[in-house]
């Protein structure tokens, strides 16, 4: 092994803490903290998927919550039919159905919307991705069968081979392993030739085209990969919260995912995880301050965000980067 960079160490430490602490809390009788960590890890997966296109591809998707939501509904809708629609058949193989469905539906959605969205650039891209997400949002709101605005309670979780998702520790284990896989996957992709093209197209698309790269195709591929990965995170989230609602895909949620990535440090491996951690932990800590400070928690939180941006370049991961300037 070559010597590890400072950021490499941080990555390792963060991941080890995430692996060890939450289960310890749970075993120590603090079940709620395991819940918090599960949510955190799931959102981190979504943020990691967003980072692939946002950080490395320069494609700022402001509609990623739609993928989370669709992934969650891919669990919720079959479960709903099983319980209320008498589709018993799907119950026995729910794991085989839910996960591929979530990944497939979101990949397809990414492909279809990506075909249109990727014609635009920059802020236009930001807004058109949001537009599609909002359309999905309102679509789900209008489907009363699945609860509309009220959302849908998932009464039975996905059944998987090695994990019993009704057991909080096993649920967490699955989420954490998924995060590791997601991190590895994104790392592999960005370092590959594909990743180089993606990053090149972020820097100078016209140059990439005259070099001979069809940037549209590469970006679309990355967009689909990211969307599917995020859909998977959505399936986990649906299973975890056992409650899904259109709220999950509201633009605020997309914004939060974006903020996690930027806060942690876009285009860094651990950035999104750091961002998600800080975001969730701060939110939790500040909002549990004694009344009335708790309800005004967004004030210090907002100030912190501003300060981080103003004084730390490249997000939290920038704190730990070896390079001083840039």
């Amino acid at each position: 092994m070559p010597t590890m960079s400072k950021r490499g160490w941080i990555t390792l430490v963060v991941l080890i803490l995430l692996a060890v602490l939450p289960p310890l809390f749970y075993l120590g009788g603090q079940a709620f903290y395991l819940d918090l960590a599960t949510r955190l890890v799931i959102l981190a997966i979504a943020a990691v998927s967003l980072n692939l296109i946002l950080g490395y591809g320069g494609l700022v998707s402001f509609g990623h919550a739609a993928f989370v939501g669709l992934g969650a509904y891919a669990v919720g809708i079959p479960a709903h039919h099983w319980l209320y629609g008498g589709w018993d058949a799907i119950a026995t193989l729910s794991g085989w159905l839910h996960i591929p469905l979530a990944v497939g539906v979101t990949a397809l959605f990414a492909l279809l919307t990506g075909l249109v969205c990727l014609r635009t650039k920059g802020v236009y891209f930001i807004m058109i991705t949001m537009a599609f997400a909002q359309m999905v949002y309102y679509l789900i709101v209008s489907i009363e069968e699945y609860g509309g605005d009220d959302g849908l309670v998932i009464d039975s979780r996905t059944e998987l081979a090695f994990f019993d998702l009704d057991k909080p520790l096993q649920m967490y284990a699955l989420c954490f392993l998924s995060l590791l896989v997601a991190l590895g996957l994104v790392r592999m992709i960005v370092n590959s030739r594909f990743g180089m093209v993606l990053q090149g197209a972020k820097g100078n698309p016209e140059r990439m085209a005259t070099l001979g790269f069809n940037t549209y195709a590469y970006r679309l591929t990355a967009y689909v990969i990211s969307g599917a990965m995020c859909g998977y995170a959505g399936a986990l989230l649906g299973n975890f919260t056992t409650f899904i609602s259109p709220e999950m895909m509201d633009w605020h949620r997309s914004g939060e995912l974006m903020f996690m990535v930027i806060l942690g440090g876009a285009a860094t491996t651990i950035g999104p995880v750091l961002g998600a951690t800080v975001f969730i932990v701060l939110e939790e800590v500040l909002s549990s301050l004694p009344h009335p400070f708790g309800i005004y928690w967004q004030l210090p939180f907002g100030l912190l965000l501003i300060l981080v941006v103003m004084f730390i370049r490249g997000g939290l991961a920038g704190l730990f980067s070896g390079r001083k300037e840039r």
Partner: protein
């Protein structure tokens, strides 16, 4: 000789301006064909139409007999056309070597390859360093591109053009921004690859042009007014008047 590039009756106007006006041009295989002309004559616009970043209003562009007038830029690159930019166009966020390695990677078919880390692909890196050495940037290979000076950026442009090893190179003022010494080195370098590639060279540095070109075309107001050997052009009165000034 066979024509690598044949441009027939190319027209392109922007609003009221005819940037390209019934332009005809042939680049023979292996030839270094220089295009000179006053500022705003339409040289860069011509290159843009040849490499596909702009689409002509009318006329045809033939590459080895194939009509590529409306082909997307990346497809032309696959066929073997590369360009360098007059106004530096690099990927500033990446390292100097990465920029060149990407150009090399582009030649190896599609890049939907997800497994191997690109920075550990030896032949790309080695060849990249070799090219950077040729333009005198060996010691800058691992720096971020932004941190280089203007002249160094200009040299990267050339390294990238060389990396593509394209059959046809469209070079837009490669000497601009280079010091006297570097210009001479560049002339030597181009001499070295001359013959192996067909080159369409745009340059205001007359010493370089006359030292390198097999043929020279003079472009004025979007139209070629003369084509000929360096000596013919030097002697051409219209060219003297429109471009070179009394010498």
């Amino acid at each position: 000789m066979t024509a690598v590039l044949k441009v027939e009756g190319l027209n392109k106007s922007f609003g009221g301006i005819k940037a390209t006006d019934n332009l005809n041009l042939t680049v023979e295989a292996g030839e270094l064909h220089a295009v000179i002309g006053p500022n705003g004559a339409g040289k860069t616009t011509m290159i843009s139409q040849l490499c596909g970043t702009q689409i002509p209003d009318s006329g045809r562009v033939l590459f080895k007999g194939r009509d590529i007038t409306r082909l997307a830029p990346h497809r032309r690159a696959h066929l073997g056309i590369t360009r360098s930019y007059q106004i530096t166009s690099l990927i500033m966020e990446m390292s100097v070597l990465d920029n060149v390695a990407l150009a090399l990677q582009a030649r190896e078919g599609h890049s939907f390859r997800f497994l191997r880390p690109a920075r550990s692909i030896a032949h790309l890196r080695d060849r990249g360093r070799e090219l950077l050495a040729r333009v005198g940037l060996a010691d800058k290979a691992d720096q971020a591109t932004v941190a280089l000076s203007h002249g160094e950026h200009r040299r990267m442009e050339i390294a990238i053009a060389l990396a593509s090893e394209a059959e046809l190179m469209l070079l837009d003022e490669p000497m601009a921004g280079l010091g006297t010494q570097e210009s001479l080195e560049m002339v030597a370098l181009l001499k070295g690859i001359k013959g192996k590639h067909s080159i369409l060279l745009i340059e205001h540095d007359m010493d370089a042009v006359f030292a390198l070109a097999d043929r020279i075309s003079v472009l004025v107001y979007g139209h070629i007014i003369a084509t000929g050997s360096p000596d013919e052009i030097r002697g051409n009165e219209a060219v003297q008047h429109a471009y070179l000034g009394e010498e």
